[in-house]
């Protein structure tokens, strides 16, 4: 039977085989990419990025290095084009914080529900208030009601009062910034920041606990003999993630003067290279190289890896051809700016985000991990876009690999210390999920 099939297939190849389909890619399909334009038109690139005398150049350097805040500040020289470029950088930042806001929601929901299931809520704790606040902020009023009712048992009067007020109000807005209750003042701060995009009051407090409560662990002299222990149970502000996402989005629309800052940039008279530089590849280009077309319905990691292999074949061909044909300036740009790897990384970031939106976290994880430059795995670099780590955190959380999510978050913390609260809550989740496990350790 096998021989029969072999002969049939061989005949099929012999009669109808198309050698062109099996030919190695030439890289031509990527000619229209921004990366190719930079390499083949270095003069145009120089015009777009400007020279050392302009803030615009600093803006491009910052954008290349994925330092979006610095890019926004450097680009925003008050000129119309400067504002548009600042908008581009602001959109990148806003998208990153949207990714992180999603992570925030997953983490907070999962942690508190797991805490309740695994051990029950500590008696008198303000934890239900934080859980209720998060649920209300996320639009889950049923969960919020249930949690805030439990918060009425909190020992701290301020927590009980805030829970009562939230329950009565039914939403997180409309609180005054002048009230005595610090938890309600916090709500007012967030509302204002979301309205006007001024995030400084939020950023200043993001690394401090929303509130803390002492935990007295009694001694067990008659049993295990353990002495008493006093610790502080600190809860960070669950609203921070959403406020930053909304606030940075507000900044982007403010700069654009348009409700859709992306459209504002795309429809502007900016040089098309300036619109595309250090971005990904358009869908038509990916279709041309048959990457990420017809995805499987399952969350198939192997499919994702296959797409990356195919992309690499085309990129390798393009890079080889570009280097061979480019001028000295073009070659220098290709190497100094790591253009092939940056381009690759942005494409894979786009595919990773799409996979998450399509509820394929394993696929997203594969795309994001394969995008990283492993010479600097723990750093944000031109290749290692911070959103790759945000995708990894989300994908790991959604696939039960909570402890591994913390590894990815650790990469972001130095540049985004505002994520400390998120780190602590994911830590809590990792601990709760592994409470009953027996630790294993080995040498080497």
């Amino acid at each position: 039977m096998r021989l029969y099939v072999t002969i049939l297939l061989s005949l099929a190849i012999g009669c109808g085989g198309d050698d062109a389909k099996n030919a190695a890619p030439s890289g031509d399909a990527l000619d229209a990419s921004w990366a190719n334009i930079v390499v083949s038109q270095p003069v145009r690139f120089a015009e777009v990025v400007g020279d050392e005398r302009t803030g615009r150049r600093d803006g491009w350097i910052a954008l290349h290095q994925n330092d979006f805040g610095a890019a926004v500040d450097a680009f925003n020289d008050g000129t119309p084009h400067g504002k548009l470029l600042a908008t581009r950088a602001a959109v990148e930042r806003s998208e990153l914080f949207e990714d992180l806001a999603r992570v925030n929601d997953i983490a907070w929901f999962s942690t508190f529900s797991t805490w309740q299931q695994r051990t029950g809520i500590p008696e008198g704790s303000g934890l239900p208030y934080v859980a209720g606040l998060h649920a209300l902020d996320a639009g889950d009023s049923d969960a919020a009601t249930a949690w805030l009712e439990l918060a009425s048992n909190a020992k701290a009067e301020e927590v009980r009062n805030a829970a009562l007020q939230l329950t009565e109000r039914g939403n997180v807005t409309g609180f005054s910034a002048d009230v005595e209750n610090s938890l309600l003042r916090s709500l007012a701060r967030h509302e204002l920041a979301r309205q006007n995009g001024d995030l400084l009051p939020i950023l200043q407090r993001a690394n401090s606990a929303l509130f803390s409560e002492p935990v007295e662990v009694a001694s067990d002299e008659e049993g295990s003999g353990l002495p008493a222990l006093t610790v502080e149970r600190s809860f960070f502000d669950p609203q921070v993630g959403r406020t930053l996402a909304l606030g940075y989005a507000k900044n982007a629309t403010g700069l654009a003067g348009d409700a859709s800052p992306n459209s504002a940039v795309l429809n502007s008279d900016l040089d098309p290279l300036a619109k595309a530089l250090f971005g990904g590849a358009p869908a038509e280009m990916l279709a041309q190289i048959d990457v990420a077309q017809n995805p499987t319905a399952e969350d198939d990691v192997e499919w994702a890896r296959e797409q990356v292999r195919r992309l690499d074949e085309h990129l390798d061909a393009w890079e080889g051809a570009s280097f061979a044909n480019a001028s000295d300036d073009g070659k220098a740009l290709l190497q100094d700016l790591d253009l092939a790897d940056v381009f690759r990384s942005r494409i894979l970031l786009g595919l990773a985000r799409e996979a998450l939106r399509g509820d394929h976290p394993r696929r997203a994880l594969a795309f994001a991990q394969l995008a990283l430059d492993l010479e600097h795995p723990r750093e944000i670099t031109p290749v290692n876009h911070p959103a790759l780590q945000a995708v990894i955190v989300e994908a790991q959380l959604r696939t039960g690999h909570t402890r591994e999510a913390l590894d990815a978050l650790q990469v972001l913390l130095p540049a985004y210390p505002v994520l400390l609260g998120l780190d602590e809550v994911i830590s809590d989740l990792a601990i709760l999920q592994n409470l009953d496990r027996h630790g294993d350790s080995k040498e080497n």
């Binding site: 072999t6 061989s10 492993l374 601990i431 592994n434 496990r437 630790g439 350790s441 080497n444």
Partner: protein
């Protein structure tokens, strides 16, 4: 036309090969010293065990416990007893049926103090085992257990291959192991490689028909073998090799999270290492960044956790070279500088650094460390031990001055065995009642904030007491040929999901 001829030939070759097949050859820095899960101490042993043996439960790809040799289980209302119905269709590699007697035997052998099992702690929570019938067993717990299945992943051994529960490391089983797992060990080769074949009686299809573990102690050489396709997998790649492997389109890198750190461990049972000031002085004489540089990138550490750990205390900085401060401590201890050397009573300060000869890059690190300490006026001898000598001198006899080694932890990051006064892996002999109390409190607590607070305090205390100088953690990546498909790597045991792997 030429292409068509080649197509036909290739097709013919392809279809003449078995549907699944080809050996997956993977490298270990050192071959497992013993193939008996009751005595497992190294990661290479743990990885091999994962191929040969099974536990009652296993992690699925979402790290939830699912039945393996267990089929169903019922937990009593008070959570102190669990009745487990076992698989009836599992067989040992020699064809003998797996039964509840094997489970009872394994637990009793591990608990038996005469066995000297390194894994005894994994069954300490089980008070009693009762065999109900050939496929049912009842476990009685010391304390109520909310999710006992999470702790029932230790590997089960065949009762019929041992003479009793007084197990010994030297039992013949160590070289003739049999399990119920997807692979059987068929051959030890002269070059220290181990050949495994798919278990034909395994209940699921085993797609990779053969596995070969090759001992390749040189990490550089491991990477070259993968480049030249003489291996299909490296379980851990050094950071300095990542870039070249990443550029090889026939290789894919798989990050996996192991909480592992390198350290210098002092023998607190010997002078002058019994004095924390001496140990702190050593910490102040070492340039950890310079030591790490030849290996590649990583994170310097100040305590017994990696930086992403919930328990890492970020307020505690890593030791930084400070020769002035180090000198102060040595002088407090009665040492004085005579010429180039530190001396006491006229005798030069001299110590020996011991490392396992197969620890990746240990030679470079030890030689550099020797240079640093000698430049600071200490005479340093170095020695590299093979596996047997390491187990004897370090694990059993505690016969060393300073060791350079590495610990790897699963996601629980339970350091109790290494630092508690009663810890079974407390090589340094460290003892602190405060740390013991904190470790015990952390273990008992179900409140993540209490655990974090207690263990962050442990981090700070251990850093200060310095029974070890914590060096660094390195990123863990496995590298596999692109011919190996459907790869998912377990963050600790690596091969847990090997049944899904296949070779093109």
């Amino acid at each position: 036309m030429q292409t068509r001829r080649i197509s036909i030939l290739l097709l013919a070759l392809f279809f003449s090969a078995p549907a699944w097949g080809q050996a997956l050859r993977y490298a270990e820095d050192k071959a497992p010293g013993i193939v008996n899960p009751v005595y497992t101490t190294s990661m290479s042993e743990a990885r091999l065990n994962e191929l040969l043996f099974e536990g009652l439960y296993i992690d699925n790809t979402e790290l939830m416990s699912v039945p393996a040799l267990a089929e169903t289980a019922q937990l009593s209302d008070d959570k102190t007893e669990m009745t487990i119905r076992l698989r009836y269709d599992a067989r040992w590699h020699d064809g003998v049926p797996f039964t509840s007697a094997d489970v009872a035997f394994t637990i009793e052998a591990m608990k038996n103090k005469k066995s000297l099992s390194t894994e005894r702690g994994r069954v300490a929570w089980i008070k009693k085992v009762e065999v109900l019938d050939d496929t049912a067993i009842k476990l009685y717990f010391e304390n109520p257990e909310a999710r006992p299945q999470d702790k029932l992943m230790f590997k089960i051994l065949p009762k019929h291959r041992f003479t009793g529960v007084d197990m010994k490391r030297t039992d013949a089983f160590r070289t003739e192991p049999i399990g119920t797992g997807p692979y059987k060990l068929v051959r030890y080769n002269d070059d220290n490689s181990i050949a495994l074949e798919a278990n034909p009686d395994y209940r699921e299809t085993v797609k990779l028909s053969e596995m070969v573990m090759r001992e390749v102690s040189d990490k550089n050489y491991q990477a070259k073998l993968l480049h030249y396709e003489s291996l299909e997998a490296l379980v851990r790649v050094l950071p300095r090799d990542l870039a070249s492997l990443q550029n090889n389109r026939k290789v894919e890198l798989y990050p996996y999270q192991t909480n592992s750190w390198w350290y210098l461990g002092f023998n607190l049972g010997k002078k002058p290492f019994d004095d924390p000031r001496f140990r702190q002085a050593i910490g102040l004489l070492i340039d950890q960044e310079a030591l790490m540089a030849p290996i590649g990138t990583g994170d310097l550490l100040s305590g017994p956790y990696v930086k992403s750990s919930p328990y890492y205390n970020h307020d505690v900085p890593a030791w930084r070279p400070d020769e002035f401060a180090a000198s102060g401590k040595l002088e407090e201890l009665g040492y004085e500088r005579q010429g180039e050397l530190w001396t006491k009573g006229g005798i030069p300060l001299e110590l020996t650094i011991t490392a396992h000869q197969s620890l990746e890059s240990s030679q470079e690190v030890v030689i550099n460390l020797q240079s640093q300490l000698q430049a600071a006026g200490i005479k340093v001898n170095v020695e590299f031990l093979d596996e047997a000598s390491w187990k004897a001198r370090v694990w059993r006899e505690r016969n060393f001055d300073i060791i350079l080694s590495q610990w790897t932890f699963d996601r629980n990051e339970d350091i109790r065995d290494q630092f508690h006064g009663k810890g079974s892996r407390n090589f340094t002999g460290y003892s602190s009642s405060r740390v013991d109390a904190l470790l015990d409190r952390a273990r008992e607590s179900t409140d993540p904030h209490v655990k974090k607070a207690a263990l962050r305090e442990v981090h700070a205390a251990i850093h200060e007491d310095a029974p070890m100088i914590f060096l660094w953690t390195l990123d863990s990546y496995a590298a596999l040929s692109t011919r190996v498909r459907n790869v998912v790597v377990h963050p600790f045991y690596f091969f847990t999901y090997v049944l899904d792997w296949r070779m093109d």
